[in-house]
């Protein structure tokens, strides 16, 4: 196998060398516990404050509003469960969408089954965008929380977050957004968008794994999720992941500084890929919105072809990508996101997601498309669905 072409940056990213470098001293040099009082531990405390500031700056937030967690899933769980607990005397209704990450959907199911919550799962249009009139219609006097993801991890669709925030504010409802895919990919200002809580994860932005944060607007009364010590303003106990926080801060600062230039390049490569796929491979469907889309996301369905086979064939060439087919989800159903945008099961099974990074080049993606053409043809030649289709249309 030659060079690897990594097109699965929505799954995780390479930790940037300068991020690793920033983290290194906090393993064996400045290993003090930030809660200790001696001078040596002060280095660790300063480091986490700096990380908090770096992240707050990206969002236009105050550093006291950033609470570090172990990752995006914990942030999502915390936001929903704790907000429900804190505000259930006001009502038990939560509004979310059918295309959220499982960290949101499965938490909602838990709240519904075990805690007596009522959840509305909003439909989305064929591009995966929430319909604002349906959101407004779903609001009841019991509604305490709206949780809509900033951008979708599978099809890359960016939601009208500003409008959703405005609606939530008008009705005095808390607004949470899962911004795991959007943070440092699209500009976010928590005040402009009236965001009360926001989840993010370090390893999606060339930071380390095992670190995330939940932004909680000052005044939102949500309680601790992990009980114990007084860390994170008594809202999230446990000795801080100092190297993780340092790396996360460095990654956020780095990704924020390069956002404009990086995403402009990614959009160019993304649109080139989509254009080549659409013109050079028959029977394909581009999933997600063409414009309101993450700069690095390509999601395409190839009719008559199954996703896992596609991934295995791509892997032969060192190409890493992902799919929404059932076989890759570990269940018999394909991706809930692809079904929510109205794809029939058999088309959803043939989906391929490729997500770019700052390192992806035009040469890389041209190589990928050339291989993809051969692979799709090979798999179609052994597909009974294609055989039937060809016979029917002869």
């Amino acid at each position: 196998m030659g060079k690897m072409i990594y097109l699965d940056n929505a799954a995780t990213t390479k930790t940037a060398p300068e991020v690793v470098q920033a983290m290194m001293p906090y393993f064996s040099e400045y290993y003090g516990n930030p809660s200790s009082i001696y001078d040596f531990a002060g280095k660790s405390k300063e480091a986490i404050t700096r990380g908090r500031e770096q992240i707050a700056e990206v969002l236009g937030a105050k550093k006291e509003e950033i609470y570090f967690t172990a990752g995006g899933s914990e942030s999502d769980n915390w936001a929903l469960k704790a907000a429900f607990e804190a505000y259930k005397s006001k009502g038990n209704h939560i509004i979310t969408t059918k295309i959220e990450h499982h960290a949101i959907l499965h938490t909602c199911e838990y709240l519904e089954k075990e805690r007596g919550a009522k959840i509305t799962y909003l439909d989305v249009d064929e591009n995966g965008i929430v319909k604002l009139d349906e959101l407004e219609k779903a609001i009841t006097p019991e509604t305490i929380l709206i949780s809509v993801m900033f951008a979708n991890n599978e099809i890359g669709t960016i939601q009208p977050i500003k409008e959703i925030g405005r609606i939530a504010k008008e009705h005095g409802i808390l607004f949470h957004t899962d911004a795991v895919q959007a943070f440092c990919q699209v500009p976010i200002n928590v005040d402009e968008c009236n965001i009360d809580m926001l989840s993010s994860s370090g390893h999606k932005i060339n930071g380390p794994k095992g670190i995330g944060f939940l932004y909680i607007r000052k005044g939102v009364k949500i309680r601790s999720f992990v009980h114990g010590g007084a860390q994170e303003r008594k809202r999230r106990a446990g000795t801080e992941n100092v190297p993780g926080i340092v790396g996360y801060g460095a990654a956020a600062a780095r990704a924020n500084a390069s956002m404009k230039e990086r995403t402009a390049k990614e959009i160019q490569i993304r649109d080139h890929m989509i254009q080549r796929i659409e013109t050079e491979i028959p029977y394909v469907k581009v999933n997600g919105d063409r414009v309101k889309r993450l700069p690095n996301n390509i999601n395409v369905s190839f009719q008559f072809v199954e996703g896992e086979s596609l991934l295995l064939m791509l892997d032969n060439y060192g190409i890493c990508a992902s799919s929404g087919s059932a076989c890759t989800s570990g269940s018999l159903d394909p991706s809930h996101v692809l079904l929510a945008i109205g794809l029939p099961h058999e088309i959803a099974h043939g989906s391929l997601r490729m997500t770019l990074s700052e390192e992806t080049t035009m040469e890389d993606v041209d190589f990928v498309i050339d291989r993809l053409k051969e692979i799709v043809e090979h798999l179609r030649n052994m597909s009974p669905l294609y055989e039937d289709f060809v016979k029917k249309h002869k």
Partner: protein, 149 residues
């Protein structure tokens, strides 16, 4: 991916891919909704009941393709009675096993062989011992809207 080397070999170099013109028996099982469809073509000698040739077409994951390939290898040259002994377990063993979530894919291979043999038996008005009517046979042109798992 937790596939064995044999599975990967049969996936990357599938044996017996294709169609048989005027096949003695054709069986299609699975459905597109679940992401797996297997079609097996048999060329059977009417005198000796030996399977002279066997081809397949599969829409599905790596395990589905590999089990189709292995199953066709295993029934080729066998008599109908011997082919009936090619179970999903035997196919799986020949592939050095499958990950637990993929075991259901191997069931399709056995079902597809049985469906093709059933088609042959119907055409020739014969009975094959131990062979039951396939439960999820999809005939050509039919829409793939079967019962859910």
């Amino acid at each position: 991916m937790a596939y064995s080397e044999k599975v990967m070999d049969h996936f990357q170099h599938p044996r017996n891919v294709g169609e048989i013109e005027d096949a003695s028996g054709v069986g299609t099982v699975g459905n597109a909704k679940c992401g797996d469809i297997m079609r097996i073509f048999l060329d059977i000698d009417d005198e000796t009941h030996i399977i002279k040739d066997c081809k397949f077409k599969t829409f599905g994951c790596g395990a589905a393709v590999a089990t189709s390939s292995m199953a066709t290898e295993m029934v080729k040259g066998k008599t109908i009675e011997e082919a009936m002994q090619v179970t999903n377990k035997a196919v799986m063993e020949a592939l050095d096993g499958l990950p637990p979530v993929k075991v259901h894919c191997s069931l399709l291979a056995e079902e597809a062989i049985h469906a093709a043999l059933w088609d042959y038996a119907q055409k020739h008005h014969i009975e094959i011992e131990g062979l039951k009517k396939p439960k999820s046979d999809i005939h050509e042109g039919e829409e793939a809207e079967e019962e859910e798992y």
